[in-house]
Every structure is written in C-alpha cells, then in structure tokens.
C-alpha cells in the first residue's frame, strides 16, 4: 500500500502506474467478492483506472484516488450485478441455482464446504448488505470508509451490515 500522501505531483500516467502496482490486485479481489466473476471484475477495475486517469487533476492525492477507485469499483459492480440479475430472470431457475453454489474448478481442492456455504449465503444477500460485509470483513474498512465507498450514510452501513450478518448467522446455524 502507498503511504498516505498529500498532493503527489504525479502526472496522470504516473499515477495510474503507481496506483496500479499498489492496489490493482486488491481491487480485483474486492470486485470478485462482490460479483463472483473474476473476468468481469478485472474489466470493472480497469474501467475504474481509466476513469481515475481522466479525473487525476482533481484527485492528485493517493488517499483520494484510492477512495475514488474503491467507490467506482463498488458502484460498477453493483450495476453489473443488476444487469446480471435481469439476464438471469430469463434463465432456467434450476440452472441458476446450481451454478450459484457450484465450486469453481479453478479453485480446486482449496474449497471447503463451510466456506462455500458461507460464500453462497453471502451471494444471496441483497446487494447493499453484501457490499457492507465485504468492505468490512475483507477490505477491513472503517464505517466511514464503507459509507464513502457505498455512497450512503454511516447509519445505513450499520443497518446493512447488521441485517446481513443476521442473515448469515441464520444460514450458518442451519448448516451446522
């Protein structure tokens, strides 16, 4: 991670290169957790960097840039999920259900049953609840940072996280 900084003096090209090295992989992982689709996640994160390049003159600060990248990724992931759900409404339900819980062959033997159940339950949560939990439990963001990334109030973050966690708790109790 880059250290917190004031104005960097970087050109937009330089900023993309440096912020790519520092955050690209993490942002792709974040988007993948929100979308469960690595290919789409990479496209969304690439989009975010291209957009950040265009806005760099206004940002010119690594902290602001990271917040911008994160918020862009969250917003675009939400849009992609919305689009996917529209498409899925026309798909055969049984296929959709089976695919939602199918472990990735890429994952190989690393997948564990409990983790798969947890991730499947997370995937079934409303988008906002899922975002709040991923940003808190994967990205380790503070409540204020989560609110900024999601574009909502801290109270809403609390509410989404609390409801999401309650749903996960119920699901895991059923599992055990």
């Amino acid at each position: 991670m880059l250290a917190a900084a004031e104005a960097t003096g970087w050109t937009a090209d330089e900023a993309v290169t440096r912020l790519f090295a520092a955050h690209y992989r993490t942002l792709v992982r974040l988007a993948t957790l929100l979308l469960d689709d690595t290919g789409r996640a990479e496209e969304i994160v690439s989009d975010a960097y291209v957009a950040m390049h265009a806005r760099w003159r206004k940002l010119d600060d690594t902290d602001k840039a990271l917040a911008y990248l994160r918020a862009t990724v969250v917003n675009r992931s939400r849009s992609a999920l919305r689009h996917r759900r529209v498409v899925q409404r026309h798909a055969v339900k049984s296929s959709r259900d089976a695919q939602a819980v199918a472990p990735s062959a890429e994952a190989g033997a690393l997948a564990r049953v409990q983790q798969d159940v947890m991730l499947a339950a997370l995937g079934e949560l409303p988008t906002r609840q899922r975002e709040a939990l991923v940003l808190r439990y994967y990205a380790d963001l503070s409540e204020a940072e989560i609110a900024e990334a999601m574009g909502c109030s801290r109270g809403a973050v609390k509410s989404h996280a609390s409801r999401g966690m309650a749903a996960l708790r119920n699901r895991m109790e059923q599992f055990t």
Binding site: V16, F20, Q99, S104, R136, Y138, L141, E145
Partner: protein, 357 residues
C-alpha cells in the same frame, strides 16, 4: 488488506464473533484464488491512449477560446460519434492473428468490429496448451468473446485452444486434430457442453491424447463456477475417443493439477510481451517445498536477475509468487525452473522472451 483489527464500526461488532471470523476466512480464501490476468496495466494504458486519440480527433475541443458550452456540445457530439462508431456494424472479417497481450491490438471492451446487432465484447480468457512432457501451460488471450456470456467466452477459448498456432509461446502446442472445430457451446449448472466437429480422428498417442483431452477440459472449465465438461461430436455423445479409447461419456472433470499441469509456469510476462522498465514477473509452480529458481537474461545471454523464489505453497498445490524487477530497455528471456533434489538438474523450465521499452 488483512491482518488489521476489525473496524470499530459497531455494526454487528461483538454480536457474531464466530460468523464474523468464518466470513473473514471465507472471503480471504476466495480472494486468494482470484487469478489476475497478465498485462492488465498494459491494457489500461492502451485504453487511456485510445481515449486520448479520440480526444485529439476533434480539433475544436483543443482550440483556444472555446466556451464551456461549445466544449460540452463538442463532447456530446464526440461521444455520439464514438457511440455510433461502436454500434455500427461492419462486415465480419476472417480470423486474424491475435497479438500477445503486451503487444497492442484491440483491447477495449466493445471496440471490436461486430457482425450483428448485439454488442461485441473482448476479454482476457485463459487458454491451456500442451508443453513438454505432455503437461499443460496456461496463457491469457485477449480475444473477442461474442456477447460476453460465459458460453461465448468458453467457446472463444476453445476455438483458440484447438489451433495450437495461437499460443504465444511457440513451445506450446495443441494436440487436437487440425480439422477440429467448435459447433456450439452451452453452459448449465457449472457444466459446459461442447459440441465439436471433425475431432474424432487423431494420431495414436495415448499420453498425448490424454493431455489433449485435459487441455480441453481445463480450458472449458476455467470460468467461475465451472466444474465439468460434456463432450458431443457432431451433436452426438460418444463413449470413447480416438484410437487410444479415451472415455468421454458423461461429465468429464479436471485431472488433479499435480498430474495435469506443468511443474513451473512463467505466467507473466507472456511470450513476446512488451513492458515498461518496471517489470512484474508472476510465477506459479507445483514443486517440492514451493521453491523455484528465477533467471532473467539479456539478449546477449548475460544473467541480470538470479534469485530463489518461494511460492505461496508447495506441492501438491500450485503456489504462486510475484517478483518485481527493474530492467533497462532491451530484449530479455525470463526462465523459471525447479531443481531436482536427486541430481540438481532443472525440472520443468519455462522460458519467455519479452521486450522492455
């Protein structure tokens, strides 16, 4: 991103410690399996360059004294023109050589010519090829993927895979018959059904034939949620394939990675890639204790980087590692290999040549 104390959000803090820990573990495990395509930075740079080029196509935007209103109008016109450009259809051309990820070429999503009303997408898809000892290597190919659906991506990847000449590394091949083509691909419930044409006759080579089948299975199941492949030949299932009588009935699954994959991969830079002076080398391997050797040689053969690299895990799992090096402009060869405990010979060397500019 991990290892920090839980944020003091108060939302659910303390009320569900076990579920919180389980969730954190599950997210970290899932995130650790995310495979980043190589040359993502190059892709972003090309998209930025394309964006700049579009900007400079409209001189009115750059002239002095242009009011904000006229700028807005021109921008709107520019966006409209670009949008129309993307949406208008040009006749589909035949297959063209796909350049390596680092060498330019079409990259922007929706930027490829389309032959239909639906938007055309371009994506980085994993394609497996057969290397030395009939073991598999993976390359990421940025190719048109039709409507961007999972089935379209799988089909595009298999079309690439069937023609071994598409491999960036010329040491990689496909062992499918040259006449093989894809009729159709569908995906349902994590299983890809692949209908092939002209694929039922192949030379008798049991080991090579097994590798070819795994080549297709690994390529076709590389999508998120992929678990298996069902093969059809001209629309019909078969019980066995080729003279080596490989069983191909029902759903086929990947062989264990330790049996199917080459022991060492240089993932990035890919063969013939072009990078800046700051070079990221991504490696993967299924080797004892996860230790591999890395060498980077200049075009004159001088070793400019030599180090032992520790992968994330040792065999039988596939570990990964990322190494950052700074190189002067020029042509280089990166080589990674494991060392035999028995006689110190090289095991599974993988080499790629790339250019630094």
């Amino acid at each position: 991103m991990t290892g920090h104390p839980a944020p003091d959000s108060g939302a659910s803090r303390g009320d569900t410690p076990d579920v919180g820990a389980q969730l954190r573990n599950a997210l970290e495990a899932r995130a650790s399996r995310v495979d980043i395509a190589p040359d993502a930075l190059g892709d972003i740079r090309r998209r930025i360059a394309a964006r700049r080029a579009r900007w400079w196509m409209f001189p009115a935007l750059r002239s002095r004294g242009v009011t904000m209103i006229s700028i807005s109008s021109a921008l709107a016109a520019g966006v409209a023109a670009v949008t129309i450009g993307f949406a208008s259809c040009t006749p589909a051309t035949g297959p063209t050589p796909i350049p390596p990820a680092g060498s330019g070429g079409p990259t922007a999503t929706n930027s490829s010519p389309c032959a239909c009303d639906a938007p055309q997408f371009t994506a980085n898809v994993p394609v497996y090829y057969i290397g030395a000892n009939d073991l598999l290597y993976r390359e990421f190919h940025r190719i048109p993927v039709g409507d961007g659906s999972t089935a379209a991506r799988v089909k595009a990847a298999i079309v690439q895979m069937l023609d071994g000449r598409t491999a960036y590394d010329h040491n990689y091949v496909s062992q499918w018959p040259a006449s093989a083509s894809v009729r159709n691909v569908s995906v349902s419930g994590g299983v890809a059904t692949v209908d092939l044409h002209g694929a039922t006759v192949n030379g008798f080579d049991p080991a090579g034939n097994r590798a070819a089948l795994q080549q297709l299975i690994w390529t076709a199941t590389a999508f998120t949620g992929g678990t298996g492949v069902r093969l059809l030949f001209d629309g019909q299932p078969r019980s066995t394939l080729w003279a080596s009588k490989l069983p191909v009935a029902g759903v086929l699954h990947r062989a264990p990675a330790v049996d199917a994959l080459a022991p060492v991969w240089v993932i990035d830079p890919q063969q013939n890639a072009v990078s800046g002076t700051s070079v990221t080398i991504n490696l993967a391997g299924i080797v004892f204790e996860g230790t591999i050797q890395l060498r980077v040689r200049s075009s004159a053969g001088k070793v400019v980087v030599s180090r032992t690299v520790q992968l994330t895990v040792g065999a039988p799992a596939q570990g990964t590692a990322t190494v950052h090096v700074t190189l002067q402009p020029g042509t280089y060869t990166v080589e990674a290999y494991a060392v035999s405990m028995r006689d110190s010979s090289k095991i599974g060397p993988d080499t790629h040549t790339f250019t630094v500019r």
